[in-house]
Every structure is written in C-alpha cells, then in structure tokens.
Amino acid sequence: MGIPLAHKDIFCTRGLRTTCGSKMLSNFVSPYDATVVRRLQEAGTVSLGKLNMDEFAMGSSNETSYFGPVRNPWNLGCVPGGSSGGSAAAVAARLIPAATGTDTGGSIRQPAAFCGITGLKPTYGRVSRYGMIAFASSLDQGGPMARSAADCALLMDAMAGHDPLDSTSHPQGGGRFSAALGRSLQGLRVGVPAEFFGAGLDPEVAQTVETAIQWFAAQGAEIHPVHLPHNAHAVSTYYVLAPAEASSNLSRFDGVRYTHRSAAAKDLQELYLQSRYEGFGAEVRRRILVGTYVLSAGYYDAYYRKAQQVRALIREDFRRAFAEVDVIMGPTTPTPAFALGAKSADPVSMYLADIYTIAVNLAGIPALSLPCGFSKEGLPIGLQIMGDYFADELLLGVAAAYQRDTDWHRRAPAWEEQ
C-alpha cells in the first residue's frame, strides 16, 4: 500500500517509546510490536510516528495527556476530543491520511466527530488487543481513523483478523472490508432512537444529524423509530465497569520493571505509593480509586455485579432493536467540540460528553462516526451509525454511500491560518 500513517501512542512499537500519554511510561521503549502495528506494517503501510492521547485513554478532550493537550485544527481554542485526540487532529489537519485509534467509551468516534473525520469502532474481537495498552479489557477495541469510510475499510482489511495472542480475538474476525463498500441504500432499515435526541442535545447537532438521516430516507432507506431504554444508564454503568477493570489493568505500572520510579522512595512501600502518585495524572488516579472502591470487599455486588447486569440489559436493547433494523443512526456527541479547559474542572460533565457512544462499547457492537455538517461556528458535527455484531462492513458501506454523494469529509480546516 505504501500509505503513511501514525499510531496512537497506546500501541506498542518495538524500539520506539510507547508512553500512553503518561509520565508513568515516559521512558518506556517497547520490546515488541502490537499485533495491529505488525499487521499494518506487513500490509505495506509506513508508520510516521506516535500520536498524543489522553493519559491511558482516560479522557474525552485529550487534556489529560502528560505531554500536554492537543488542539482541534478547526478551532485551536477547542479540544479535538479524546482519547484518540492526536489521531483525529493529525488526520483532520491533513498531516497524515490515516491513523490508528482505540475506543473504550467513544475514544475513536467522539474525536472523529469533533475533528470532522471518519472513525470506526469495530465489533469487539475483530481487531487484536495484543500490544494495545489495556484500559478496560472488555470494552477496548482498536480501529481506524481516516478521511473517509473507504480509507477506514482499507485499514480494516489489514488491522482486523484473528490473533492467537489475544484470547478475546474472534476466530472469524477478519474480512474484506474494502470489497463491501458499493452497496445500495434501497430498503436499508434505519433505526432512530428517541433516547438519542432528548434533553442535552445541542439543537444544531440535532438538526444536522436529522438532515443526514433524511438524506438516507431520500435514497430509499426506511426510517423506523427504535427504543434503547437503558441507554440512559450507560454512562453510570460504564463508570463502574471501566474503572474497575482499569484499576487492575494499571496495577502493573508499579515502579519495578519499566515505569517511572520515584526518586524519593526509601523502601518498597514508598516505591509503590510515590511512583504511582507521581506517575499517574489526576484523572487516572481518580479512576483507579473508583475502580478499587467498587471491587473492594462488601461493594462488589452493589456496584460491579449490578453494573454487569445493567450491561446485559443494554445489550438486550440493541438485540431487540437489531431484530427490526439494519443500522441505528444518531448523533455521535451532544455538542460540537468544546473549548479547552471548559470541562476539565468537573469530571462528571466530561463523562457526559460520551453519553451517545458508551452503550456501543458495553454491548460490544460496531459503530462509526462520520462528518455530516458544521455548526455555525464552523465546527464539524458527526453522525453515528451503529450496527449489530459483525455489521462493520455494512456500516462502512452505508457511510461510503453517503460520502459518495456528500463532501463534508473532504472539507479541510485552514488551521495554518489561525
């Protein structure tokens, strides 16, 4: 292929620093390549380097990175979204044609929407997690971020596929994604959930997304109302499960083998306590504390087990919906990109930026965000298309059909003039 691209700094790259946006790993040189890195290299792509991100992928604005924030090329005063903010901004700014990202609660789709690019969160298990630094193992999924669905499909051809090094990799994960793009929209059953158009949704975003959905109707798609009654609980469920898994996944960053080690530590306990305090930023520390709490003795059933049950109900919502429709459409985010610093003082307001993307990760289904218009301030607005398990090809085909007829995805920011 010879396509140049760059990797989110969550993917291990042999011989190169892999920091995950953290002081903790600021001197970590990986002794091995992530499967995604290896597969893309074998497919002939050329990696130009590593891309900034929220620390350990925990954030929705790319402001939690130890290495400083990333700015949105459409407006340098705005965030690019997160956690794959560096990937989204670099593609949007036309620095690279494509990038890898990861999505645990919206970390591909939300920055794709904020930066006006196309990003796919694949079906859980289609892209290997081996060498992709874990945030929440049962939710994390790597995926492509590019200017168009067609480019995302090309990346998926190389990225996806069974990996014997990842027990959660699906044996039939691979596919010919780029061969599935030329589909008709005639008779496509599109579900529109009322829950995605309620209070909290910016009217401009609502109108832009509705216009896009009307375009599909005009191409012969059938529009059906669907219900996702448990979506309202997705964020609260996620903020039990993701921190719980993260609190354990991040225990290996202990100051012993490859991480930051506090110079102040005089004994082993201080080595742990100080290295982890110094090495992790405030948001990561917060999530570790939340996760430790919900797993601790006496709270497991009330939080962790309960959240797993609600998770099952959220999956059931989608199962019921996909019995009647082929795809579900709605906004990717409640608002366009917000200003740097606007939400960083209030973690919960930041968490709610992912209100439309999180349920997809809990269910493990695929979803894609593509640009479908701009706000009056000139900020991109994203349309989210969700599909049933293994509907990744369908999502890419539907998005490609839209992009054959529209040019939102071809618009580039004039960031150098700002």
Binding site: I10, F11, C12, T18, C20, L25, F28, S30, P31, Y32, A34, R129, Y130, G131, M132, I133, A134, A136, S137, S138, P164, L165, D166, S167, T168, A244, E245, S247, S248, L250, S251, R252, F253, D254, V256, R257, Y258, L268, Y272, T292, L295, S296, A297, Y300, Y304
Partner: protein, 481 residues
Amino acid sequence: MSMAWEVVIGLEVHVQLNTRSKIFCACSTAFGAEPNAHTCPVCLAMPGSLPVLNAAAVDKAIAFGLAIGAEINHRSIFARKNYFYPDLPKGYQISQYEIPIVGRGYLDVLLPNGEEKRVGITRAHLEEDAGKSLHDAYPGESGIDLNRAGTPLLEIVSEPDMRSAAEAVAYLKKLHALVRYLDISDGNMQEGSFRCDANVSLRRPGAPFGTRAEVKNLNSFRFLEKAISYEMLRQQDILESGGKVVQETRLFDANSGETRSMRSKEEANDYRYFPDPDLLPLQLDAERIEQVRKSLPELPDARKARFMAQYGLPAYDAAVLTAQRELADYYEAVATGQDAKLAANWIMGDLLGALNKAGLEIETCPVPARELQILLARIADQTVSGKIAKEIFEILFHEGGSVDAIIDARGLRQITDNTAIAAMIDEIIAKNPQQAAEYRSGKEKLFGFFIGQVMKVSQGKANPDLVNALLREKLQAPATE
C-alpha cells in the same frame, strides 16, 4: 498434648504442573536458568501483553480431578487476585475463584496404624506462580527474577479432615504419589514444585472448629509434621492460659522448628477478585474430559489391588510398593519372571534400607531393576546362595557393575558339585573328631558348627541345601577310624 484437645488440619497444596511452557505464555518452565532468561512481554507484564491459556495445564488439571473422583466443571472462570508484590508483575495473580476447574473429590489415605481414612478435597484450581525475590546479593536491595512467574500451578485445597500430624503427612504423601503417578508434576519439593500450607486449629472434641493459623513454607513432609506439632503446643498453651488464637499467617522456620507470625501479611488484605476480562470462560466438553480419562495411567489404589491379585502380595507390601510410581515400576521390573514375594522382600528390605542409609530416592537408585532381577534369577537357578546374593547386592549398590560379571570376577559361583562338597566335609570331620563324636552322641547343636566350618572353607559358596544334606548323612554315618 492433653487429651482434652483435638487438632483439626486442612492442607492447601500448590503443585507446579510439569508443562513445557508457562500457563499463559510460551516461555520455558525449566528450573535453574539465568535470572529472567525465561521471560517475555507476557510474563513480565509488559504494557499491552495478554494471556493465552496452555492446553496441557488444563488437561493435567482434568487428570487430577478424574483421579480424585471429582466433578470437572464444564465451565470455569479465571479471576484476578489483586495485590502488590515485586514478584507479582501484573499486580494481580490470575487464579480461579468462584468456579474452579475441579470440584469436590477425595483421597483414601493409608494411616501409619494400617487403617484407611478418606480425606475430602474441597476443590482444585489453576493459577499462575509468582517470581522470586533474591535478598542476599545486593546491599539494601532485592533482585527480582521472574523466570518462575507464570509457571502453572494447581492449588489443591483439602477439607479440614485430618486429626493428627501423622494423618496430614500421610495425606500429603499420598497426594505427592498421585501427582507423580499422573505425571502432572515432577513433585520436586526442594525446587518448590510441591509446596504445602497447613491450616491448624484446636478444639474440644465435638465442639465447633477453633480459630486457625495458616502455616506457610512447608516444603518437606518432615517440616509439615514438625510445624503441626509446634502449632499444637503453641495453641494449647494459649488456650489453656485463657487466651485466644489469632487467625493469621505464620511462617515455619526450619532451623528452629518453630512457626512465627508474618506481620507483613497481616495488613487487611482485600484482593478484589473479579473475572479476568482478558480471558473467556473455560468450557470443557465431555469429549475432552473423556480423552484425558482414556490417557490416565493406572492409579495407586488400582495398582495396589492388582499387586495383591497378580503377585499374591499382602496388603501392606502392596501399599508400600505402590506408594510411589517409580517404586512400583521398579518392583514390577524386578518381579517379572521371579518369585514375586521374594522380590518384594528384597526391595522393601535390602533396597529401601540401602537407599535410606545412603539418603537416595528410588529415582536415583544406583542398582538398575534389571540387575536386581538377574540377581534373583541367580538365586533361583542356584548360581549363588541367598547369603552371597546379599554380598553381590552390596557391591552392585556401592560399586556398580553387573551381577554376572561380579559373580565371575570374584568367583562367587555356588558350589553344587556333590563330590567337592563331600570332600570338604570329610576333611572337616577329620580335623574335628571330638566335635563329631559329641554330635554323634547326641549334642545336635554342633550341627551348626559344622555348617559354619563348611561355609568358611567354601567361602560361603557351597550350596547350603547340599551342605545340609551331605553333612547330615556323613555325621550320621559311623565314624571311619
């Protein structure tokens, strides 16, 4: 120990499974390599690395479950046990918590008094071993070697069914024999392949269980016995002076023979177990379990029964000989074509005695089974006497060589030539006329004197039966003056 107290013992045994590679990565499990030579991104818990389960570890766990008559759970779950320790690279141990692979089973144990006791096994689950901290080489620092990290372990948890140190030792020995039989572990206690923790408590007979102490680091049968005996006295002292036993972890000190509290472990542990999201449920179909069942070797109890039936051995002999797979194999090799009871006597007496004296195990026995078998054959075909055979055995054991070569080189072949023996006897009677006369006049005890003389002259090689018969004949004949 006052009769008023009853000891209650349960054992947790960690058995390293003898797979080639580690449980979740393809690193070698070989013992004794250079530090961290057998490590990779997975067992060093590098960022992004993930576990994949070793099929052989699963099959060995199934084999154990089948051997103790346990239910094999068709669906079991791997969980994370979270705690920080330098030899635990991920900050959690992958183990099984709520649903282990092996459910409830039992072991029938032969007690020293000859009785059999059934000890319940609560569960057995798969988990990964930790690495090692080395404390001596660096001042103020410890070295971390993660070669052992990720070695597969089967943790076998017994019911609190044992009521004496001897019962606990008998159970542990039986368990050790079983894992060797099954070839699921090398059972090497010095290298830590078979490690035991004991939960010990006292109670008044019939009363509810008392508070227990968990004693760690019992890496020999003798240490287990000593530690339990020490704990019994310690707890008795506490209880009889009106105190309360503290539930705690204690470490056995092999040098002092005492147990001491591990204060560092006393900090309230909260392991935050939860299902490992990097691993899926382990589902075992009936076919896989059946395949393992078919490949099971003959187990100790079945082999004991067969030894009694096939070789006509008494229960005690059969139990001793089948207690270790290697010993049973050795016995069968020796007994083939020979007098089975004689073979048992030789092995249980001479061989085990010599091994014990030399501090050796049957695995390191210097006498190959084939040579002992030939030795028994030479007794049977009268090439040598039983007495000479003992001498040959000593030579075999200490100097090596083959039975036939030793017989030839040292001229130990038994004299079975009637004429030659008769000539010896004639000469001896001629040299000892007074004793001959006394014998003939009724002092029959002197028969032994003459036997001794013949054996002395023949250097023990004269066939004892022939000597016996000819001597009796010649002494009873009238004196030929």
